[in-house]
């Protein structure tokens, strides 16, 4: 138990350290200037230093003083994650090329398949319902600048 937790803290610290290093690099590229005449890189540099320090602190102390109700020791749900992200990706792809209605259908359908208990027919039904609702509300009433159907 403690072994996995401290590994998690190590990873958490590492991630923050990574963000800090990215900030440091960008800060150096932009030039920090002095306190009186701050360059555009001053703030990124300062934040980068803080982040690096915090990252190291998290990784080294492995602090678990507060009981975390959101701690999930089990493995992530890859199917759900991939489907949700793909769904959002489909929204962009289909929205750019074939219009609003296919984009809604594609994104909702793919995302719905992320749940292990949802049947194919349920996903199709849900996607169709949201597509009709969304196309009417956003396409016809609110008139957002994506055509309901197109071919590009």
């Amino acid at each position: 138990m403690t072994g996995t937790r401290s590994r998690r803290e190590l990873l958490a610290g590492g991630l923050i350290l990574l963000f800090g290093l990215i900030a440091l690099l960008e800060g150096r590229r932009l030039g920090t200037g002095t306190l009186f005449a701050m360059g555009p890189g001053f703030v990124p540099m300062a934040l980068g230093v803080i982040l690096c320090g915090l990252g190291l602190a998290i990784a080294l102390t492995g602090q678990t003083s507060t009981v975390d109700p959101h701690a999930e020791p089990d493995a992530p749900d890859w199917r759900g994650a991939v489907c949700i992200l793909l769904g959002a990706g489909f929204f962009i792809m289909l929205g750019v090329h074939v219009g609003l209605a296919p984009a809604i259908f594609g994104s909702v359908f793919v995302a719905a398949m992320g749940d292990r208990t949802t049947k194919l027919i349920e996903a199709v039904g849900l996607a169709a319902g949201v597509t009709i609702f969304g196309s009417i509300l956003f396409g016809l009433i609110l008139k957002i600048p994506i055509p309901v159907f197109e071919w590009r």
């Binding site: 991630l15 982040l51 994104s107 208990t117 996903a123």
Partner: protein, 503 residues
Amino acid sequence: MLSSVGDLWHGFGVALQLHNLMYCFLGVLIGQVVGVLPGMGAMAAISLLLPLTFAMKPVAAILMLAGIFYGSQYGGAICSILLNLPCHPPHAVTCLDGYPLTRQGKGGTALAITMIASFVGASFGITEMVFFAPVLTRAAFEFGPAEISSIMLLGLLAGSTLARGSPIKGVAMTTLGLLLGSVGTDINTGAARFTYGVVNLYGGIEIVALALGLFGLAEFIKNVNRLAPPHGGHANVRLRDMRPSREDLKKSIPAMIRGTLIGSLCALIPGTGPTIASFVSYAAEKKISRTPERFGHGAIEGVACPEASTHSSVQGDFIPTMCLGIPGDAVMALLLGALMIQGITPGPHLIKEQPDIFWGLIASFWIGNILLVLLNVPMIGLWVKLLKLPYRFLYPAALFFVCIGVYSAQNSFFDVGVTIVIGIVGFLLLRLGFHPAPILLGFVLGPRVEENFRRAMLISDGDLCYFLQRPISAVVVGLCVLLILGQTTFWLIGRHRQRILAA
């Protein structure tokens, strides 16, 4: 004093205008619906609806967003008490006694007490705002860049260390938020930061994309296949179940008053939002109770007290947000962001220059809270039905709203892509035990911290001691140091105790 009452009168005039009243009602209704839905919280509700308000007049927009916020809190209470699913952090405490009450078949009573408590707490919070805000504003006119920078620093530190989870991780999240706020063209030098040649990033990260990535996509990924389908066994509440008995009222009214007072005190300390208020008041109530063993097993006071204190501190939280432009938590940061998109910078000038917004907002709080009580009591059956909507149908539809919401903020598919990336990072952060809410706080305040810090450094010829030479600023810096020292001490004590236990 008297002028405040007069101004409030003016505010009621603004808020009762037909179209403003309509937006307020629409806001609380949508907020209530989204709040009730399992797995959807206040943050998701506000950020989803944010793009819709871009086209509105500022007064209508802020009335509606505020309505969504407290509407979703009323709705979230239903979800927490009947299903034991807190979607908004302050409700975590309400669950402790609310859910056991539901299992004893007293869910209706718990809901009724919650509503009364919320209303009492909110009313007190609003009164506090009416009289305290003008005083704070008068003081705030004396603030220079040094004071503003130090108060912001205190707000950021308090907001990140006093919230949930580990304080170091909280500060890391706030710092990350500050960093994300600096993406784009630097207003002082014109240099492009963190854009890596991507033209779409020159304008910075869209706030809606950030909020929906963190509180939409990342939450969906966290909850999918995890959120158990709601079992409606105990959740059958009808209107006549809601009448609290005389005994229940007798127990909860003093608890409500104590909760309200604790909540309003918490609101005055920058960075201590409703979450802390609810925890503190629950702990206090348990301590002074003659029968502390009942807490956690369905004590009605355990529902009344945190709800009253949450709502009084929520209203009080608007004080620093509107008067100083310094939000206490992520929700306030989002509302502040919405105002800034409308071209309005909250701060001491707001009350004088935009009395319609400030006093209209305050008046609308009362109207909205009354509307909510009216909405909740007779329609409780409908809300309970909404609870049974399974998450597996909910999140794909919500995903569509996330995509279209982000897109319509700037009519840009690029922003939807940004949301995906932020969603992935947000999920990683959640898995690693971070709470991403302070990111938003840092993001909204980032550019203003930088601007004020830069100004202070220009005035003082680059002397950092300037912050200690101005009395108000020095006091605030002192508070920051105290906060850090206090947190470190607590941590060391906790670690020491763990060592002793382990040995």
